[in-house]
Symmetry: C2
Amino acid sequence: MSTDWLSHRSEIRVLDCTIRDGGLMNNHHFEDRIVKAVYDACVAGGIDYMEIGYRASRKNIKLGEHGCWKYCQEEDIRRIVGENATALKLSIMADAGKCDYREDIPAKQESVIDLVRVACYVHGDCELEAALELLAPSEAQAIYVVDSFGALYPLQTRRLVQKYLQHAKACGKEVGIHAHNNLQLAYANTIEAIVLGANYLDATMAGLGRGAGNCHMELLLGLLRDPQYQLRPVLQCVAETIEPLRHELGWGFDLPYLLTGLFNQHPRAAIDYNAQPETGDIGAFFDSF
Amino acid sequence: MSTDWLSHRSEIRVLDCTIRDGGLMNNHHFEDRIVKAVYDACVAGGIDYMEIGYRASRKNIKLGEHGCWKYCQEEDIRRIVGENATALKLSIMADAGKCDYREDIPAKQESVIDLVRVACYVHGDCELEAALELLAPSEAQAIYVVDSFGALYPLQTRRLVQKYLQHAKACGKEVGIHAHNNLQLAYANTIEAIVLGANYLDATMAGLGRGAGNCHMELLLGLLRDPQYQLRPVLQCVAETIEPLRHELGWGFDLPYLLTGLFNQHPRAAIDYNAQPETGDIGAFFDSF
């Protein structure tokens, strides 16, 4: 084991992506009071980064088709955070291919944004090796293992994190982990990554995120023995602000999400299954894989 | 790593304890149709053992105070399983101190019960060492690591399972794991134990069990690559029989159970918190630890 996982490690950065990943469950239509409550809890909880949404090109969009957290224009962000005179840093996510960095990403001095994370898609071991060789010497400060389908077991997470660390550490970069909960392993996979040396850790309030959701922030902060992090404001945000959304947004572990995770599939089939007006036939859904 | 965890291992035994552990959430009052549905799913799913309830002394009891699965008299069990002419074996649990083995445990030829598991309570590392030294040469066929409070992290599970294996294997015994989900780690801890060589694996349909519940059977069978086990009948039992009980029985991960797990406390404080007629104050509950 490369580290004592229960001890303090000053390189750790906790990133809340409740509004960004949760936005995939409500087409990015969060009321301002929800975004503000998450922001306030992140500040009070000593969390390092809050990812407030996506940044995407607005060319040819149909106004009103998506909530504003799909685009995160500066005025939307500032409506929540003002000048963000706090220790919390702000992040946005840009999907490779859906954002033009020359037009859509402003210079630092014009923006309250501190971090841009770029989602890109790599399939298969050969591609991964090539991608890591490209990314390691790039200007990025960290490279994430992302389990979008929630299909990884801890031992598979271990192999991936070890591979990422080899490439990243040689170039002075950090490795991050972003897990999904289809197999109820988001937290366990995050712990596995921490033990190995991953320092950028994604989590969301109440696990709110696409499909089965993410690693719960309240679990992650319960683990980290760093007085920087405060669990109490996170518990209150979860109980008072996020859990009341569960019925409407419908994220969290269930059988259809288990099955897409088990068969390493995109959760959209499970989202469709759950959106049916009548209760589905889980046996028939199982047979469809 | 002592084994290839994804491969078949013929020594593995899966034990369903839905009715036994779930009985702690409804005072053992399951309707026969529920017990029968779990039994049928266990048979169809190729599960090795079903633990149908507790066996306890009936001296000085108040009739009707508890449901019949607190006592599992032979006629109650036979009402569900008949002569149990199946490959499924039946188990009961006897709490040390609440059962007199001379009176309450009949001879094998008078009973459909195949296995008696004895719950006993050991606190602290010194006691554990002494208990393992007593148990290893006993007549028991397996010794379980039991995380009743759902407080173990995978690395702690690892240390315990390794210690148990040392004692047990020297005497030809198996090691088992019974996990709770307060930290969403019941399945991860079970995987950790499997990898190390634990062969008796507890799980419940939909995770039904005390407090945050147990390792989900549908997750465990999804992992085991043994054609003996069939996921489909388990999925149907979960969807059609167990999930409809969730509102009434109220098991499963939530913030109060997270906190009792995090602080390594019995879940009763969380059960009381959840039983309040009005929504509690999670911040005050956190402060109470």
